[in-house]
Every structure is written in structure tokens, then in C-alpha cells.
Amino acid sequence: MIGIREYISIIGELSSHYELSADTIISDLIALDTIGTHFLQSGIQDLIDSNSRKEFLKIVETAIETELLKEFVKELVNREELISGLLKECSLITEHLTEIKVDLSQYQIVTDQEFDKLLAILQKKHSHRFMIVTVGLPDGNTITKYLNTFKHTGEYKAQLSELDTLLSLYMEVNSGE
């Protein structure tokens, strides 16, 4: 069955390929969910009617920032076999975003290195998805990070290998050998 899971997977892979920022992609996805839900709640169940289709595309054009998502939605609207359930699928987007909350307020200090390590571990654990990670810091602030783990970008890859080296070094030093 083709549904929102598959669509998100395509968006994830392409955005990773074109190295688009996860922040904008995720905020666009949430916006698309809001649009879909709004249409459904106002009684429009599908986009088969040309007026509602036009209306939908107009809102998408203004509300969505990334070209990738805009083009993707247009492509879906143009395909007869996919258009009927499109609104319903859009309204389910947030169900497919992974939200993780981490509370680090119990620690006295969290270094940048440790923070990056945490993110790296989370990415390793939850591959192939869009993630919203909210971290509560010792100073009372919270940081929200948007991550795309469909394919690690070069930046993260470098960080990961660096972390791996650090971790193995740390293990060696502390193992007492």
C-alpha cells in the first residue's frame, strides 16, 4: 500500500541527497499536515474536485518553503491513482515523525561534545526517519534539534567517525590496560 510512510521516505532520501536542512523540511512537513487536517475538518475529503485542488495547491505554494516538498505535492496531485487519499495521508504526517525528549537537567554540566555524542547515538538507534529531539539542559534551557536519519550527511558522518575514535580512546584509557 502506498501511503504517507512511503512519501516521507522519498522526501527523506531526496532531502538527504540534496543536503537540505532537516529544520525546514520538518517544519514544512508539519505545515503540510496542518493544511491536510484543515481541509478534512472543513468537510473536504479528497482533491478530486478541481476547485479544492486549486485551493490546496495555492495554500501549499505559500505555506511550504522547500521546493522539494512543493514539487512533490504537485506531482502527487497530478497522479490520478494517488490523489484520492492524499488529504488523509497528509493529515497523518505528524504520526510518522519521531519525537524524543531527553532530560539532562540532573547533570551538573553537559559539554558540546557530550551533546553531539547523544545526538549521534540517537541517530544510530533511530535510522530512516525524521526526528524531533528536545533536550532539557542543566541550566534549565531546552534545545530542539531536527534530524533526518534517512541517510547520514557528510557532516554527521565525519562527526560520527570522530566520536567513534574518541569513544574507543576513552575506553582504552579507562580499561586500565
Binding site: 500500500m1 502506498i2 501511503g3 512511503e6 522519498i10 522539494l68 514539487e71 506531482e75
Partner: protein
């Protein structure tokens, strides 16, 4: 802002990906209507999307890919259906369930509710609700599949009203107080209720063992077809393994046919929730083979808690004590499945039949293919601080046909079984007792009530009159008679004998008082051997009868189970009285003064045996 070249490139890439997706999904060898994927999983509840043809109570299979490429299958059951997704509970290794995993409804599960795979080789085993054998010792042998595997749906509707036979055959529990005052009939639902540690499980175990070893199952028709060997199913709901082990040891030692359906205290709530339903399906399987089944649910408080756990996770609105709104329906649909039903043998096996068919066959004297078979339910409920009026206890009290209340105060006074006769009731009354027992026990409850009443006065130190003292003596004898040790059971005849003995005592007290004789009730043995001092000139028959009349005039209606013999006398209202039996055994034609109470008593017992 991306350039025009990049945009064209983007469009091309999107198109290619979508085409690829459509090609893959159209050629995939999975029935799209019956497959989906996990989007969320927490606390044993999975949210599955993509299944179009889902039904409540259906079995789902989660495909878990292990590290070495092996596929592990985990079962689940659909609990809620929403427009976009279905919510299901998972039985088994929850730690393997992950987002995105494929979930399918297998071909064999598509048109049936959740089923368990049962086979006869499981008799005498401890199994989980999914019929997997649970080893209590590592040395236990592997169980082989014996014969055909039966797919038993765990939830099926209760038998129809027309197919239900009346509950009128006794289940002799071997517990004297139950057999005399709180009779259990085959097909009855009798609740065992009490605080923690009052002996609920021990009582249920004693009933199972005694009925399995000594009890009789008498069916007046279809004798050749009836399988008299009874089946006992003990459902351990969220129990400690050590407790189950001790029950298993006792049941196995007794040699009865039993199955223990076990869910442990550390099992997921989903598994605990289906345990009594699965156990009842097994009970129904044996009932439909013409066997009488006794099923113990130990205990339904744990079951209610497990269902509350599942319901809250499914975000169903909590009601009183946070139980969901359908907690009453949950237990009523479970316990309604226990009943006594008419079965007809069709050649290949038994089918349910109606009372009407049964009557027609009876009129034509062709009842040889008809029998009745029953499931007797003994649900157990735990109360807290003797709070009889908590939510779940009152629910189950109103569903069942009577309750046996175990009183912690009696338990502390070293009374076992600690059954509180005043708060316990069997709503069948004497219908499930045979004629003699019914006649003998009719006044016990009243006598005990008078005893408790008089005891109140005596605790205040008030002086009682002779009648009051006699009531107290009689009551104490009854209470002493009701005490018995765990697994030490009493046969039907012994119970009848003992009760008649106690009433004989009461008669003797009255008799000796009225005849101005000195007597010493403490020495019963001596008393029984004393000759009956009937004065010359008295009409012995009338004399004794008038004294006995108080206890012997209980009327008994002529029923299927009770055909009055010569020992009974028909009364004006058409019922039969037992006093004739006394007159017969008194045999006062000879020399009454030479007779002892003991000889009279033996004569009476021989009458009972008739």
C-alpha cells in the same frame, strides 16, 4: 533559492522515485488489504496503519527481522479500529517490536476471531493462554502434539437459552458446609470471595480434587454416550509460579483430568486479559464432547486489573476505580458461557440441541442419543479489608448464581473452611441437592441465625433460658461439624449421616428434658448407647414422631431426581415427608425400651442408603 536546472533535476528525481514505488508495491506478494506496518509501539500496545480489512478481536502477526536475517513471528490482537489506524495488544517478546515493522493478518485468521491451537495432548499440562506448554521443571519432557489440532476461538457467544438444561444435578464438593447449606449444581457459577489468605484457592482446589475423585455424575438418559470422566481447568491469572506449582502437585497427585492455564505475575497484561477466555474455550471443547467440566478462575480481580491496564493504554475513558465502562460486560460475557446444556449425538459427535427436541424425544421414549453436559464455574475474587461492596466484587456477585464468602475473622479463629454462612448464598437453593440432603439441611441456616442471635446475648454475660442454651449447643455442634481440614473431604453419605446425627442430638436433648431423665450431653457416646426410655402406656410411634416431627416434616416435591420410596409419606399439599423413614427404622413393633439411639440411628442410615 534553487536554480531552474536544479528544479528540473528535482522533478525528475521525484518522478523516478514515485514510479519506482508504484512498481514495487504493485508487484509485492502481500495482500494489501490485510497488511500494514507499525507506526507506534509503547507499553504493549501497537498502533498499526495500512490494514484495510481489520476486525475487532482478530489475530495479527508481527514480522520481526532478527539480526541474522531470521524472521520471528509475534502474535497480537486487534482491540480498537479507528479511521486511520488500528490499535492492538501484543502477546510475547515486546522488545523486538519496532516502528515500521510489517504486520499481516494471515489467511487462516482473516474470517475468524482470535483462536488458540489446542490438542488433547495438553491434558495434565500447564499451558499459557496461547496453548504453549509451560515447563515448571527443567526436567519435564517435551509434549508432542496428540492428534488433531483444534482451532478454538477464545470469544464465542454463550449457549442459547433454548439449549440450556436446568441446573439440578449436585456437584459434591466434599466440603460439608457447602454440600449442606450452599449446594453447588453442575452448570452453576459459584463465586468464592474473600480477603487475601482466607483459603480461596485451597477451597477451590479441594472442591476440584474431591469432585474429581469421589463425585458422581448421574445422568438419567444417554448413559452409554456420556463420558463420566470429569475435566478440571484451573486458570491461574497473574499468579506466582510457586503457587501454581503447589496446585499442580496436588491436582497431579489426585489423578484427575486437569489442565492449568497459567499466566504469571510478570506476564504482559494482554496475555493475562485473554487467559480466562482461552481457558473457557478449552472447557467448552470438552463439554461439547459430553464431559462435565469444572473451571476455576483464580482470580478475576487480577483479570479486572489487567483489563484496566490494557484499556487505559488504549485511551478508553476510565470510570469508577479507573476501570473501563465495559468491565461488567467483560465478566458477564465470560461467565455466561458456563452452563448446563442439552447435547444430541449425531453419529460423528455431539451438537447442541434444544429443550424442545429433548422433550419430544423424551415423549417418544427415544432419549438414548440425548445427554446433558455442563461447565461449572468457580470464579475467585479477592476483597480488600473485607470490602464486599467494592466495584469488581459487587459486579461478579451480581453475575454469579451465589457466593461463598470466606471471613478473615473466622480464619483467625482457626475455622477452615472459613465460610461465613450468613453472607454466603446459593441462589439455586435446594434445586441442586438430592431429596434426602435437601430435607436434612433445610433448617440449618435458620438454626445458625438463631445461634448467632443468642450468642450476642451470651457475650454480654446475660443468663439464657433452657431453650436458648439448647439453641447455642445445637449451633456450636453445627459449627464444629463444618470445620474440616484442607483436602480432607467428606462423602455425600457421611455428610448426610453427620447432619442427621446433629439433629438427633437436638431431638435427644428435647426428649430427655421432657421425659425428666438426667442426661449428660458432653458424653455423646454413652448417650447413644442408652436405651430409649419410653414409658409404659405411651404409644411409642406417636411419642417419637411428635418429637421428631419438628425436623422431619420438610416437604419434598416429586422431581426427576426424587422418586418417593415406601419410606416417604405424601402430605396434604402433595409433597413428601421423610418421617415415614423414621417410623420404619424405629420399627417400634418390638420392645422399644430395649432399643438404643445408636441402633435407631443405624436403621435411619440404612434408610438413607435406599
Amino acid at each position: 533559492m534553487q536554480s531552474q536546472v536544479e528544479l528540473a533535476d528535482l522533478k525528475k528525481a521525484i518522478n523516478a522515485k514515485l514510479e519506482q514505488l508504484i512498481t514495487i508495491t504493485s508487484t509485492k506478494d502481500i495482500d494489501q488489504d490485510y497488511s500494514g506496518y507499525v507506526v507506534k509501539f509503547s507499553d504493549g500496545v501497537a498502533r498499526v496503519m495500512g490494514i484495510k480489512r481489520a476486525r475487532i478481536g482478530q489475530r495479527l502477526t508481527f514480522h520481526v527481522e532478527l539480526e541474522h536475517g531470521e524472521i520471528m513471528l509475534i502474535d497480537g490482537m486487534i482491540m480498537d479500529i479507528e479511521p486511520q489506524w488500528t490499535e492492538c495488544i501484543v502477546f510475547g517478546e515486546e522488545r523486538f517490536i519496532k516502528e515500521g515493522q510489517t504486520v499481516v493478518i494471515k489467511e487462516e485468521d482473516r474470517h475468524v476471531p482470535f483462536t488458540i491451537n489446542f490438542h488433547k495432548g495438553l491434558m495434565g499440562c500447564v499451558i499459557d493462554p496461547l496453548c504453549n506448554v509451560q515447563k515448571l521443571d527443567s526436567e519435564d519432557d517435551e509434549i508432542e502434539v496428540d492428534g488433531h489440532i483444534h482451532k478454538l476461538p477464545i470469544e464465542i457467544p454463550a449457549p442459547l437459552i433454548a439449549n440450556r438444561a436446568p441446573v439440578n444435578k449436585p456437584l459434591y464438593s466434599g466440603i460439608r458446609v457447602i454440600d449442606s447449606v450452599l449446594p453447588i449444581g453442575l452448570g452453576q457459577r459459584m463465586l468464592i470471595i474473600g480477603d487475601r489468605g482466607t483459603g480461596k484457592t485451597a477451597l477451590a482446589k479441594t472442591i476440584m480434587v474431591n469432585y474429581g475423585v469421589k463425585g458422581t455424575a448421574i445422568d438419567i438418559v444417554g448413559k452409554g454416550l456420556k463420558n463420566y470422566k470429569k475435566v478440571f481447568i484451573y486458570t491461574a491469572i497473574g499468579k506466582k509460579i510457586s503457587e501454581v506449582k503447589s496446585i499442580y502437585a496436588d491436582l497431579a497427585a489426585s489423578g484427575i483430568d486437569f489442565i492449568i492455564v497459567m499466566t504469571k505475575a510478570n506476564d504482559p497484561a494482554s496475555l493475562v486479559y485473554i487467559a480466562p477466555f482461552a481457558a473457557t474455550s478449552i472447557a467448552e471443547f470438552y463439554r461439547d464432547q459430553g464431559r462435565d467440566v469444572v473451571i476455576v478462575y483464580d482470580d478475576l480481580t487480577n483479570h479486572a486489573n489487567a483489563y484496566r491496564h490494557v484499556s487505559l493504554l488504549l485511551k478508553r475513558p476510565p470510570g469508577r476505580e479507573a476501570y473501563p465502562g465495559d468491565i461488567f460486560y467483560l465478566h458477564s460475557r465470560l461467565l455466561e458461557r458456563s452452563s448446563n446444556v442439552y447435547l444430541q449425538h449425531t453419529g460423528s459427535g455431539f451438537v447442541h440441541t434444544s429443550a424442545e427436541e429433548f422433550t419430544i424425544a423424551n415423549d417418544r421414549d427415544k432419549t438414548e442419543r440425548f445427554i446433558t453436559a455442563s461447565i461449572t464455574a468457580l470464579p475467585i475474587v479477592q476483597t480488600k479489608e473485607s470490602d464486599f461492596s467494592a466495584y469488581v466484587p459487587t459486579n461478579i456477585v451480581s453475575i454469579t448464581d451465589g457466593q461463598i464468602y470466606l471471613d478473615p475473622a473466622l480464619m483467625n479463629n482457626d475455622v477452615f473452611p472459613a465460610i461465613h454462612v450468613g453472607l454466603s448464598v446459593s441462589r439455586l437453593g435446594g434445586d441442586a441437592q438430592n431429596g434426602i440432603m435437601k430435607a436434612l439441611t433445610k433448617s440449618i441456616k435458620g438454626d445458625l441465625a438463631s445461634y448467632n442471635d443468642k450468642m450476642k446475648y451470651s457475650t454480654y454475660g446475660l443468663e439464657l433460658d433452657e431453650i436458648g442454651k439448647r439453641i447455642i449447643r445445637h449451633g456450636s455442634r453445627l459449627i464444629a461439624f463444618f470445620k474440616q481440614e484442607l483436602l480432607h473431604t467428606s462423602s455425600e453419605l457421611d455428610t448426610a449421616k453427620e447432619i442427621s446425627n446433629i439433629y438427633l442430638m437436638r431431638f435427644l436433648e428435647e426428649y430427655y428434658e421432657s421425659s425428666d431423665n438426667q442426661y449428660d450431653m458432653k458424653n455423646i457416646e454413652t448417650l447413644l448407647k442408652r436405651p430409649l426410655a419410653i414409658k409404659e402406656g405411651d404409644n411409642p410411634k406417636e411419642h417419637v414422631m411428635s418429637k421428631y416431627f419438628g425436623m422431619t416434616k420438610f416437604g419434598m416435591k416429586k422431581t426427576k431426581d426424587f422418586a418417593p420410596s415406601d419410606a416417604f409419606v405424601e402430605l396434604k399439599d402433595g409433597s413428601y415427608a421423610i418421617q415415614r423413614a423414621f417410623i420404619d427404622f424405629f420399627n417400634i413393633e418390638g420392645e422399644p425400651s430395649n432399643m438404643t439411639i445408636e441402633s435407631l440411628y443405624d436403621g435411619f442410615i440404612s434408610c438413607l442408603k435406599k
